[in-house]
């Protein structure tokens, strides 16, 4: 497939020395030569292998479990179940909000009931994986199978089978007496919705359904745990948050965090799905029961699909009204998202993002968190927002169509800007919504005629824009100066997208040294201060900020040291571009390298520290332009051209920002066109392999063109906004709008696979 490829653009706001350049990533050589250590590579003396017994039913009571035969098998060293958890408090919180302990532990090892196919029930440690697997087949579990609930509307139905006897609907934290699958209902209200619709000349209302989708990281979950003889626990794992794992193991096993060390291994993708903790506590329990031997557990692909958290399916109704002049005057959304087996869908975030790109006076949004018999959902890039945008961005498009207004022009006319009040209340600070839309409108792609069909199908163009808040949270960083003029940087954010590089660049910029002279390292939980998850697009923003603070601490100490050596007042010394100099005596100057060589003789080592929990978070807007070709006889859709435009605030490393934009867009395309958990009526996933769970490959896609818009975030020293998530919010809607433009079918279901398109065309 050929396409017009426009080189990536950076609409830069400010030039720096290191920030904004494109150096090679420090972990690159190890990764491309296969030397990087992933969890499955770990080998320890006396290593045992663990496997997990999983429920074959979507909903069932566990009547009994008999381990006798499994324990009798030669090579089996230990078996654990929920009965091995110690007595402890009622609530767990490992950094992701409060959760009832029985729900938290139930998702690690189920106790009396299983709530989804693939839920862990027991685990075995043995001398080999094969023996462990054989032992699983010898465990005798008696079930009482129950009717399953698979979608939010099914779960909300009055006569629905109830998953939890102890779950009562909350209304913004008000506990009701209604035992239901609706865990929570909340509402955002602004203005007068009835008055708003009364003033509208055109109103569009549609209902949308989206399927369950997995993050699809290539590396499966893995863990090795050693419960030492002295009761210290060491966990090596693939995770987006080593400290989160430490807290989760601590909460699950009632062991103090000071006795747990977590070493994050290299990570082969996460996208939010490796924040939650699954087999780690069971591996530690197995290690203890097996006589303090290390136990390694590596999931199969089917276990990843069926036993870990996908992003939710959803059922959403969106209604919007506008005047003939194109002013949107009212918007209403009713969003129900599947939490999976335990409460906690991302509907809250979806509700806060659904209309955030627009300035609308009258808005009502209702959100429902609904438990169903599917794996407990986990985060997946901008969780909840892509579902919501799939609905809202199609309704906006339909309004533009009815009013005969260019769809980007309608969005620009109603775009949120600094001072616009969001439906959930707060006022937008400086944001880049308008700038992103303008860059889209001016882009060569949007100004060009439709890309011609390649296979005789019908072509169409669609656009969409999405928003993600981004988060801050805690980060820590230490920097120590080496006597050869380099620095070692130790930080706690596991690197899932090139963040070692972007964090190191913060330090290099402050110290005025080259990026190559900063040696970044992701440390274990004993070696660096508390650092929250790599997620919420926070890592470059917050851990980069911690590095900025640590580098400034180093810089202040270097100035003091130079002043000591020269016998002058530190206030008379400055450091710029890696050179220390007196402000008053031009003869007094020294490079950072020269001073580094003298440290041990002039007062000892210099170590800087940075620890932050920053406010000043900058949300990011991202928009897509997509040309598609649809075969009207088969419903097959090809992406002909795709452009993504995102506000990065300041792109510390533009190549990695572009990588995030392209990656989020590609995942959005897969979600749009193919990806779904395909369920049987009794709740079994029929496609738990990458052969049948179809994700796009490079052969399916054109080059994704990127434009980085830089509307500096005033809350960050370099203007950074997180960029990992906003790019997945609206590709699905943009593709849907392009399909509508091509063949006239308004797609209310996702994925928009050939069957769904043909169904819509024939309806």
């Amino acid at each position: 497939m050929t396409t017009t490829y426009e080189p990536n653009k950076v609409l830069s706001n400010k030039e720096f020395k290191v920030v904004g350049t494109r150096p090679v990533r420090p972990d690159g050589a190890d990764k491309v030569t296969g030397r990087a250590q992933y969890g499955a590579d770990l080998q320890l003396t006396g290593l045992l292998y663990g496997k997990t017994l999983r429920s074959p039913h979507a909903h069932a009571n566990i009547k009994s479990i008999d381990f006798k035969k499994a324990l009798a098998l030669e090579g089996v060293k230990a078996v654990v179940s929920a009965k091995d958890f110690p007595e402890t408090k009622d609530t767990a919180n490992y950094g992701l909000g409060d959760s009832p302990m029985n729900y938290f532990r139930g998702n690690i090892l189920a106790d009396k009931k299983v709530l989804y196919k693939g839920q862990a029930i027991a685990a075995v440690a043995a001398s080999s994986v094969h023996v462990a697997e054989a032992a699983l087949s010898l465990i005798d579990v008696k079930y009482e199978v129950l009717d399953a609930v698979l979608t939010a509307p099914e779960g909300m139905a009055k006569d629905a089978p109830i998953l939890h006897d102890d779950l009562f609907t909350k209304e913004f934290e008000k506990q009701t007496k209604v035992n239901s699958n609706i865990a929570e209902h909340f509402q955002h209200k602004m203005g007068d919705i009835d008055e708003g619709f009364a003033g509208a000349d055109v109103i569009v209302e549609r209902t949308f359904d989206t399927a369950t989708v997995h993050q699809g990281y290539i590396e499966p979950h893995n863990v090795t745990a050693l419960w030492n003889d002295d009761d210290r626990i060491h966990v090596w794992t693939s995770t987006q948050g080593a400290f989160t794992v430490r807290a989760a193991v601590s909460e699950a096993l009632a062991v103090p965090v000071s006795k747990i060390k977590v070493t994050p291994m290299e990570i082969g993708g996460g996208f939010g799905g490796k924040i939650n903790v699954y087999e780690d506590p069971a591996a530690a329990l197995l290690s203890k029961k097996a006589g303090h031997k290390p136990v390694k557990m590596v999931m199969t692909r089917a276990e990843v699909f069926e036993g870990t958290g996908p992003t939710p399916g959803s059922h959403m109704t969106v209604k919007m009204g506008a005047t003939n002049e194109g002013k949107i005057v009212a918007a209403q959304a009713n969003l129900a998202m599947e939490a999976g087996a335990y409460p906690g869908s991302p509907v809250g975030a979806g509700a806060m993002c659904v209309f955030t790109a627009y300035d609308i006076a009258n808005v009502t949004i209702d959100g429902y968190d609904v438990v169903v018999n599917k794996p407990k959902t986990a985060a997946y890039r901008a969780p909840g927002a892509p579902n919501a945008a799939f609905a809202a961005e199609q309704v906006i498009d339909e309004i533009a169509e009815k009013l005969n207004i260019d769809p980007l022009e309608l969005r620009l006319q109603n775009a949120a800007k600094e001072g616009t009040r969001r439906a959930d209340g707060p006022i937008h600070p400086r944001i880049g919504c308008v700038e992103v839309l303008e860059a889209m409108k001016e882009h060569h792609h949007y100004q060009s005629p439709l890309t011609p069909a390649k296979n005789g199908g019908k072509v169409g163009r669609g656009v969409g824009i999405g928003f993600w808040f981004n988060i801050g949270m805690q980060s820590a960083c230490n920097i120590s100066v080496n006597n050869d003029g380099t620095v070692n940087l130790v930080e706690g954010s596991t690197d899932i997208g090139g963040s070692r590089a972007s964090i190191a660049m913060h330090a290099a910029e402050v110290l005025g040294i080259s990026y190559e002279d900063v040696k970044p390292q992701v440390a274990d939980t004993d070696s660096v201060g508390y650092t929250a998850i790599t997620g919420g697009s926070r890592t470059t923003f917050a851990t980069g900020w911690a590095a900025y603070e640590a580098a400034n601490d180093v810089k202040a100490q270097l100035i003091d040291r130079a002043a000591t050596i020269w016998g002058v007042d530190p206030d008379s010394v400055e450091m710029e571009e890696g050179v220390l100099r007196s402000k008053t005596d031009t003869e007094l100057n020294m490079s950072f390298k020269d001073l580094s060589a003298q440290l041990n003789d002039t007062g000892g080592p210099i170590v800087g520290r940075g620890a932050v929990d920053p406010s000043g978070i900058g949300g990011s807007f991202c928009g897509q332009i997509v040309d598609v070709e649809v075969d009207p006889e088969t419903g097959k859709t090809d992406i002909l051209r795709f452009t993504v435009v995102q506000d990065a605030g300041k792109a510390i490393h533009p190549s990695y920002v572009e990588g995030q934009m392209q990656g989020g867009s590609v995942q959005g395309i897969g979600w749009a066109l193919n990806e779904e958990y395909y369920y049987s009526e009794d709740g079994r996933m029929n496609n738990p392999t990458f052969l049948d769970y179809r994700m796009p490959t490079s052969l399916d896609l054109p080059m994704i063109d990127t434009v980085i818009v830089e509307v500096a975030n005033p809350g960050h020293p370099y203007g950074v906004r997180g960029v990992g998530e906003a790019n997945i919010v609206s590709p699905q809607a943009a593709v849907a709008n392009a399909i509508k433009s091509a063949v006239g079918a308004r797609m209310e279901k996702m994925p928009m696979n050939p069957a769904a398109i043909m169904e819509q065309l024939w309806s």
């Binding site: 008000k174 939010g272 509700a351 901008a382 959930d424 707060p426 805690q474 406010s615």
Partner: protein, 87 residues
């Protein structure tokens, strides 16, 4: 006084009022003051000495990383929101 926005599903506790002007220099003081006039507010928002794990507070548009310890200025806006996570 700070302008406190009451979440719509909590307005039953504030006689239907959507916004209230409340005196206080921190979010904790604001909630304490609200509780004086509208009993039940504190239980909805707080668990012991901190905000409930599923609730955030935004002061002047910025979600506070320190919850009820956040400073509130004379003309600040205060919003209580569902907590968010990201991927």
């Amino acid at each position: 006084m700070a302008k406190v926005f009451i979440p719509s599903l909590m307005q039953e506790l504030t006689d239907g009022q959507t916004q209230l002007d409340i005196q206080g220099s921190t979010v904790r003081e604001i909630i304490k003051e609200l509780e004086q006039s509208y009993p039940g507010v504190k239980d909805r928002l707080m668990d012991g000495f901190k905000l409930k794990g599923n609730i955030n507070v935004a002061v002047d548009g910025e979600v506070s990383p320190i919850g009820v310890l956040a400073k509130v200025q004379e003309n600040s806006e205060v919003h209580f929101l569902p907590a968010l996570g990201g991927g």
